[in-house]
């Protein structure tokens, strides 16, 4: 069946991917438009808020998809397959840039400690910076799970499919991530946080 331009947006990811394998450029563009922003922000969160690196990773990911569309496993949902590829790319980046990451964490710790001594005041920007700092200290899988769960708003089942693990493992990761964050960010008064978020 011939697909018109307006119909590409209605097609499922898997159907679009079938067209991509056949060489349909519009289907490829539709998939890019559907996932590029989410993936870009995922990379941005995972790669230490480095905008340029996130752009590069996004381009690399879709370049892989363009050159080897047959590598897509049709048995899996496209979204989970795409995020699993993105997650593996982030893991490789973590391995290659472990030294850089450590240096960045130390640098950020020194700045935040000076600010933190000024008093505990709920400031959303400060909270975000601190949260990112603590997330960078986590294991990549835990951090990725946290980002997918709360930033990408993905279901536990989808995250489990991305990591190819059980849902219980995902829930456990989320629980222990929250526990660590709450413990390491004691300086932020929970009541103030509650009021701030309310």
């Amino acid at each position: 069946m011939a697909l018109f331009g307006t119909e590409y947006g209605k097609q499922s990811d898997e159907r679009l991917m079938e067209l991509v394998v056949r060489g349909d450029e519009k289907a490829f563009a539709a998939l890019y438009d559907r996932y590029s922003r989410r993936l870009l922000n995922y990379f941005y969160r995972m790669l230490w808020s480095d905008r340029e690196k996130a752009q590069d990773f996004l381009q690399d990911l879709f370049t892989k998809l363009a050159t080897r569309p047959q590598s897509y496993d049709a048995a899996r949902p496209f979204q989970t397959w795409l995020f699993s590829v993105a997650n593996n790319m982030c893991k490789n980046a973590y391995r290659h840039e472990a030294v850089v990451r450590e240096a960045a964490i130390h640098l950020r710790n020194g700045v935040d400690r000076v600010e933190a001594t000024g008093g505990i005041e709920l400031d959303r920007e400060r909270f975000r910076d601190r949260l990112d700092e603590e997330l960078d200290k986590l294991d990549p899988d835990h951090k990725a799970t946290f980002v997918m769960r709360f930033n990408e708003d993905m279901a536990i089942k989808e995250i489990a499919a991305v990591f190819n693990c059980s849902e219980g493992t995902v829930k456990s990761r989320i629980f222990y991530t929250l526990k660590k964050l709450a413990e390491r960010m004691k300086e932020f008064d929970p009541k103030l946080i509650d009021h701030g978020s309310a």
Partner: protein, 303 residues
């Protein structure tokens, strides 16, 4: 109902997001306390969860660069174009497979190529030379005067021919130079009319020099002309000794004369510089003698 069936340890997230610590049921509280230290930690985690979730959703989302979209679409287009390039890596992998068991592939390919080359060369050599197309040049053996058969096989006495030659000599005499003393035999004198005719032919046809092209014949012809001159001198002075010409000698001489008439002597320029009337008469007489069989018979009868 068993708590473990109702609440998995990981399900505390749902409790954190739905209920405060004071709102938990007894069994739920017992479950939470198995994983957390107490109310304070529960409240802290709950506050964190409530703050993180909207905070994550409200984060400013960065926008992708348009160049990224153009680049990946360009890559996709390039990938869809048919490519006929043969990568060297592929060739190298084919010629030198990692698995030794697959070495038979290049070996078989090279062996087949070698057999094809041998068969091709053999075929060209065997059947290529039998082509009926004419070549640009053809090498033929040039018959020499020794190989030429006698013109006539008659056994007539050659004295008749010598009689006619005497009259021809008288006609030729005025135009022929006298330069050398005669030591030639009668056999050589027979060449006289033929060589004179050939001399005339030398002046007229330069194209034949290319077709004949035999230097040996030219030298022989030139020598024959010289001999003819000497023979005529001898005939006038009567110093020549009598000699009976055999049929073979006569035929050989005539054949030589005929062949020499087709080529041009190297000294043509010298001799054709000042032709006179007497030479032309000798030429006409010798031409008729060479071409007329009646004259040949008459010549034979005279001998």
């Amino acid at each position: 109902m068993d708590l473990r069936e109702r609440y998995d340890p990981e399900d505390i997230e749902s409790l954190l997001s739905e209920r405060a610590y004071d709102e938990l049921l007894a069994e739920e509280r017992a479950f939470v306390l198995r994983h957390l230290s107490g109310k304070e930690e529960y409240d802290r985690m709950r506050a964190m969860l409530h703050h993180v979730r909207p905070d994550e959703r409200s984060r400013i989302r960065i926008e992708e660069d348009d160049a990224v979209r153009r680049n990946v679409l360009e890559v996709f287009r390039d990938q869809q174009r048919p490519s006929w390039r043969i990568w060297l890596n592929t060739l190298a992998a084919w010629f030198a497979p990692r698995d030794v068991d697959f070495n038979w592939r290049p070996v078989l390919a090279f062996a087949t190529l070698a057999v094809l080359i041998v068969v091709g060369v053999f075929t060209v050599r065997e059947f290529g030379s039998n082509s009926s197309e004419p070549g640009l040049a053809e090498v033929k053996s040039v018959p020499t005067h020794d190989q030429v058969a006698p013109v006539t096989s008659t056994e007539r006495p050659v004295q008749q021919e010598s009689t006619d030659l005497g009259s021809i000599r008288q006609t030729v005499q005025p135009g022929v130079e006298r330069s050398e003393a005669s030591t030639l035999s009668e056999n050589e004198q027979v060449r006289i009319p033929m060589e004179v005719e050939k001399t005339d032919g030398l002046a007229g046809s330069r194209e034949d020099k290319l077709s004949g092209g035999l230097i040996i014949a030219e030298e022989e012809q030139f020598a024959a002309v010289k001999d003819a001159e000497v023979a005529m001198d001898e005939a006038q002075t009567g110093s020549a000794t009598s000699h009976v010409v055999t049929v073979e000698e006569l035929a050989t001489n005539m054949t030589l004369a005929n062949e020499a008439g087709k080529v041009r002597p190297a000294s043509d320029g010298k001799r054709s510089a000042a032709p006179d009337v007497a030479t032309r008469e000798v030429n006409s007489a010798s031409r008729s003698l060479a071409q007329d069989p009646a004259l040949l018979n008459l010549l034979a009868a005279g001998w």
